[in-house]
Structures are given as C-alpha cells and as structure tokens.
Symmetry: C2
Subunit: 155 residues, 2 copies
DNA sequence: TATTGTTATACTCTATAACTATA
DNA sequence: TATAGTTATAGAGTATAACAATA
C-alpha cells in the first residue's frame, strides 16, 4: 500500500481514537484545540481566535458558548475596547487541560507502541519535514476551516 | 511537536489535498473509495458494499444513486436472488478510475517531495507497522463509518 | 420469519449573510 | 464608515427506524 494513503488512514484513525479518549474528559477534539491555545496564549479576543484557527467568527461564538456552558472558559470585557471580548480559561478549564496532557501522552504511547525510541525519532523527523513543506501551522489541526472542498457534482 | 499530532495533522492535510485533486474529475473521496472497490472486486451486492466499508445500507443507496446519476456505475439485477442488486462500473466509471490512479501518483509525489527514495521506503515501513498494529483494513479509509464518537457533552 | 434494498426523519456540523454595538 | 461579536438560516453528511419485495 502506498505511503500517503497509509498516512491518511492512520491520521484519521488517530483522530478517532483521540476523540474517544478526550470524550472521557467531556470535551471534543476541536474544543481541545481551543483550550490548548487559550492555555498557551492567554488574553486573546474571539477575533484573534478566528484568525488563528482560520474559522468564521460565528463559529467562534458557538465554540466559546459551549466552553462557557461547560464552565471551562469565560468571556471578559476588554477595558480598552468595549466591542472586544477576551476569552480565558477557568480553573476547571485548566484542570481539564491537565487531563488532556495526560491523554495526549497515553495516546502517543498507544499508537507508537510498535516502534523503538530510535524509530520514533526517525518518524518524527520525517513527518516534521513533510509538515514544513506542506505549510502546516504548528499546533493547529487542519480540520478546522472549510478544508475539504466538499462537493464535486458533475451535473 | 509530538509525532502523533503531526501524523493527524498531515493525514488531514493529505485528505484535503486529495479531495481538491479528485474534484477535478467530478468525484469526492468517498466516491473514489467505492469506485476503487468496484474496480477491484466486481460483481458485489450493495449489502457486501455496506459490510466492506462498515456503513449503513441506507448510505449505500445514496452513494450508488449518486454514482448512477453521474453515469459512473450501474445497478444490475442478480439472476439468482431477485432482492439483490449487483453494482458495476460503467465504461465512464472505468475511465474516471484511470484518472484517479494518475491523481494518486501526483498526490503521492507532491506530499513526499522532500524525501529521498530511501527515506520514503523507511516511512512506508514505519507507517505500515503502525497500521497493522492499529488493525486498519488495507485500502479502506477509516473515515467511512461512525468513527468520531461525536458528542461529549458534560451536561 | 429473515434479508435486500429503500424511504422518511432527525440531528450535527458548518457557511453565509444580516444585524447590534461600539469605534 | 469599519470592526467585534452575535443571531438566523440553509445546506451537506450521517444515523435510525419503518417499509416493500423477495427469500
């Protein structure tokens, strides 16, 4: 079987397994992406979030609504510009993030189980070079925006 | 960046690029999966298709309807059992398949461009071992069934 | 009774555009 | 006039269950 199809197959499989694991923490993979960014780069507006993940502002509203309902994040007014809402992790959000980090480790260990430490390093190196050439943003899953050009009707 | 996240990122990216490429042929990635199977294992029923791709029979109906409307496949009655419909590629379907094979080559070449022949072999080997351990079915993209355990609402 | 294919229905995910409140 | 956030609406994708024809 060719390498790129294997890559796609494994990537999809890995995403599915990850979804199963984080479901135990009560969050979805897209939410995990947002939480990780909120943890790493605090003090950003919803607009900044939309730009970073390359999604529509209206989707950000939905995501942040969800996180707020689950008590994982909060909207805070920006004193400098009353149009802007700063999004921040709550204590509970930070706690979930600790769980997410653990899940990521277990997930990695499960999927790479058949490889030696040396082979894992090899793999990382090869994948990293492909990612750079493909122009992927580190830490941002490409599944966010309108990636798959959905339709292809001939008629 | 960890290897498994890179794998997921690249897999999703690769799937998106592939979708763009086959769109030029008037088909979607799921359709390509079906067409490939129809080409390789002719004479199968819709039920067999549902089992092979691990999808609902009702989805098969939709898929085959589409392929039939685009003139790429046809339903034929099974002489032995009048409940069964055999699905077959049309001439036009076979022609599209030739285009698909070309697209797959170009796609592979584009994504693996940064790697030498030796590194590609290495990569294939590593990925193959991961795929075997993950229990993936060769040639079947795991994106078909109800893979992502969609919801994770806490409330 | 069981199975093949089909239809009907509902629910999630996402894109677009119109709207508000501020600047 | 432009921007941040919001609301409303519509479309694709998919799961489920009920159904007709045949075994």
């Amino acid at each position: 079987m060719n390498a790129v199809f294997l890559l796609t197959q494994l990537g999809t499989h890995a995403a599915g397994r990850f979804a199963e694991r984080v479901a135990a923490l009560g969050v979805t993979p897209p939410q995990v992406g947002l939480l990780r960014w909120l943890a790493q780069s605090p003090g950003n507006s919803q607009q900044a979030m939309a730009r970073h993940f390359n999604i529509q502002p209206s989707r950000v509203v939905t995501f942040v609504d969800e996180l707020e309902q689950q008590g994982l994040a909060e909207r805070r007014p920006d004193p400098a510009d009353r149009r802007v809402r700063i999004v921040e992790l709550t204590e509970r959000g930070k706690e979930v993030m600790r769980g997410v980090r653990k899940v990521m480790q277990d997930h990695e260990e499960e999927l790479l189980a058949p490889l030696s430490a040396e082979e894992r390093a090899q793999m990382s190196d090869l994948l990293h070079r492909l990612a750079v050439q493909a122009g992927l943003t580190p830490g941002v899953h490409p599944g966010y925006p309108n990636l798959p050009p959905r339709i292809a009707k001939t008629t």
